[in-house]
């Protein structure tokens, strides 16, 4: 089993090395898809071995897998599989062979950086991995080479690197605090054991610096300015990875940190999480209402969902944790599907403008159906997974007595629901406004991706495999500390 876990990490690196060699243009898509699918299968095997609450120790004090990290591995490998298949349709010959080859090599490296975060338990290495997710995705964001794409990539890099540099000071101060408490075990569990002996002021400042630093990467308001740009200008499969799982793996780090400091009263972890979570949800919903670009709309929806998870985590009850973990799963599969739907719409019409797409159903039934399904699922309509997880979050909040937080959260979620659906219904069923809108064909690989990615979106709302349910409950228990 340990070998399987290492293989998950090694496969994308091998694929990247193969594709970095010249004259491997033709096999780029195939190698990437094969590696991603095998990684996904391996993640299922790893998940089955830890679903009961066990842990898989790869290297003591450095690399370890518990149910929460197994869930993250599962999500990253699933989304990278679908993104690889989608890429084979949308990243075509028109881009030039060398660029295509480098795209796939870079894609695999980016997937590697995301897979490494849940496996690492040492905070210093976690920081390096988080920084690598930025560095290895910047050139994917700028892939289109247009002025807008370059601008988005630059903003993305600059702001998330400011975040990473802020976080590194937090990490160093945290290690200082750990040593003052007489320990040198800089892992999640080591920190939890020593948390009470650390100087309160050091812990408080380190926590805020790390929350601000990694919060930039998660897209928490007011540090979100780069997110809609990067998540809309990148090629659609990269958007699916950025929005679906990149934000999630960094949010995972914040959740772990919460587990460590929940018991230290002076850090006010719950207040920080509730305020930044609610602020993100509220601002994101307002931005959804006014946006005119449908890829940006889904990007704002990512900010909204990150805020919802953070708010759920602020309750710090077993029910709230379970709902937060469930929301992470539901968001990752649904948001990646939404970006495939948005990408297909962009491929068919050649525009990102909500107004110009109006009347899409007359041009492409597939893209329209996918957009509607994605919009219903992500905005929280029954019977989809996001509906269930949001309901669970509201219930967890009410049962733990957070009435004001829940009142605001429910209002924002309802506004977001109407905002997303208003735009998408106009796009699909509205009256066509532009007569001469082109009508391009949708590549087969993109249709196949839509079909595969739709399976968990539809299924998880009505039935959840027993082993996955066990994993979710165990993951929630782990995140609670």
């Amino acid at each position: 089993m340990v070998i399987m876990a290492w293989l998950i990490l090694a496969l994308p690196v091998v694929a990247a090395l193969v594709l970095a060699a010249p004259r491997s243009e033709r096999i780029g898509a195939k190698v990437t898809i094969a590696c991603a699918v095998v990684s996904f299968a391996l993640s299922i095997a790893v998940m089955l071995s830890v679903q009961g609450g066990g842990r898989l120790v790869l290297v003591p004090h450095w690399f370890e897998i518990d149910p929460l990290s197994a869930l993250l591995l599962l999500l990253v490998t699933f989304v990278s599989s679908t993104a690889a298949i989608y890429s084979s349709g949308s990243i075509g010959k028109s881009q030039g062979t060398v660029r295509t080859r480098l795209y796939y090599a870079n894609f695999n490296l980016f997937v590697f950086s995301m897979l490494s975060i849940p496996l690492i338990i040492e905070l210093g290495l976690v920081w390096i991995a988080v920084e690598l997710t930025t560095l290895l995705s910047v050139l994917l964001v700028s892939f289109a080479g247009t002025g807008e794409a370059l601008e988005a990539a630059w903003k993305y890099m600059l702001l998330t690197l400011i975040g990473a540099t802020t976080a590194v000071l937090g990490v160093l101060i945290l290690f200082w605090a750990l040593q003052s408490a007489g320990s040198a075990d800089f892992t999640w569990s080591g920190l939890r054991d020593a948390a009470h002996g650390m100087p309160a002021i050091l812990v408080r400042i380190a926590f805020v610096l790390i929350l601000v630093g990694y919060g930039t990467k998660v897209g928490l308001v007011p540090l979100h300015a780069w997110l809609p740009d990067a998540h809309s200008q990148a090629p659609s499969p990269v958007c699916a990875l950025l929005s679906g799982v990149e934000t999630t793996v960094v949010l995972y780090v914040l959740l772990r940190l919460r587990g460590v400091f929940l018991d230290v009263p002076s850090t006010h972890v719950q207040t920080w999480f509730a305020v930044s979570g609610l602020l993100s949800v509220g601002v994101a919903v307002l931005l959804i209402l006014q946006t005119q670009d449908f890829k940006r709309m889904f990007a704002f929806s990512t900010v909204e969902h990150m805020g919802i998870v953070l708010t759920a985590a602020s309750f710090a009850t077993p029910l709230g944790d379970a709902a937060a973990v469930w929301q992470i799963l539901a968001h990752a599969v649904t948001k990646s599907f939404c970006f495939y739907a948005a990408g297909s719409t962009l491929l068919v019409t050649g525009t990102r403008s909500i107004a110009e797409v109006s009347g899409l159903i007359g041009k492409s039934k597939r893209a329209s159906a996918a957009l509607l399904l994605g919009a219903l699922a992500i905005s929280g309509a029954p019977p989809f997974a996001v509906f269930l997880s949001e309901l669970a979050i509201l219930r967890a909040g009410l049962l733990s007595g957070h009435y004001v937080v829940i009142g605001l959260l429910a209002t924002f979620i309802a506004m977001g629901f109407f905002g997303v659906l208003f735009h998408v219904v106009n796009m699909t069923c509205g009256r066509p406004k532009v007569d001469h809108l082109p009508r391009l064909p949708l590549p087969l690989a993109c249709s196949v991706t839509l079909a595969i990615a739709a399976v968990p979106v539809v299924l998880l709302g009505v039935w959840i495999p027993p082993s996955l349910l066990r994993l979710l409950l165990q993951a929630a228990a782990v995140s609670g500390g």
């Binding site: 290495l125 390096i128 050139l139 002025g147 630059w154 890099m157 605090a177 040593q179 006014q290």
Partner: protein
């Protein structure tokens, strides 16, 4: 730590903070890069001094890696990949004028000191001054990033912030496992490479590397 090492370190710290401020007010891009190299050498010097007595392999290695990576490799990457025309330019369109930026930098220096006091009172470090001035260096790097519009100075701002963080780091976490060396030896050159690729693409697209003036993407409200 012996007294003369301590005083020598204080001198190095003073020069470090001067280089941070100099980077904010230097308008020519190649001069800004040279000041950054000097700053990285000073960071390495502080690591050598703190690691001198008692002897610490860890800090010695950190100093060596800093010199190799930040004083040699990164300037080489930035110089060879971004057109030379960019470096001789004087940046005149700063969003904040030099005197105002200077005042702001001194303000941030005081903020760094103020933040350092409670931290140093809470736990023991090799050199309390490193903590205060490291935080100040980080904040002044952020200021550099805000006032400049050109690609290279903006990235030097990030690297300057990182220098500040590690200046504090060598005093508070001298035994930090692996991360600092790995980050400086591996992450930072990757960063410089990617920045250079991106800046070159911007240069080819717009004829300059004035990334601060890119503003096609924004919301209506």
């Amino acid at each position: 730590m012996t007294a003369w090492l301590y005083h020598l370190n204080a001198l190095v710290l003073g020069l470090f903070i001067l280089t941070a401020i100099a980077m904010v007010v230097t308008r020519q891009i190649s001069a800004c890069l040279q000041v950054f190299i000097l700053q990285s050498l000073l960071l390495a010097a502080s690591a050598f001094l703190l690691g001198g007595s008692p002897w610490s392999w860890h800090l010695f290695a950190l100093g060596c890696v800093t010199i190799a990576s930040k004083a040699i490799l990164i300037p080489w990457i930035l110089r060879s990949m971004i057109p030379a025309e960019v470096y001789v330019r004087r940046e005149l369109s700063q969003s904040v004028q030099v005197p105002a930026a200077l005042v702001a930098a001194f303000g941030l220096l005081l903020v760094g000191y103020a933040l350092g006091i409670p931290l140093n009172a809470a736990a023991h470090s090799l050199s309390p001054a490193n903590v205060s001035l490291g935080i100040a260096g980080l904040l002044i790097g952020l200021l550099l990033l805000v006032v400049r519009r050109e690609a290279v100075p903006q990235i030097l701002g990030i690297l300057g912030m990182e220098n500040g963080a590690f200046l504090a780091g060598i005093a508070i976490a001298p035994d930090f496992p692996l991360i600092a060396e790995l980050a400086i030896a591996f992450d930072v050159p990757v960063l410089a490479f990617i920045v250079a690729v991106l800046a070159r693409a911007v240069y080819q697209k717009t004829g300059s590397t004035e990334v601060g003036s890119l503003s096609a993407l924004r919301e209506l409200i």
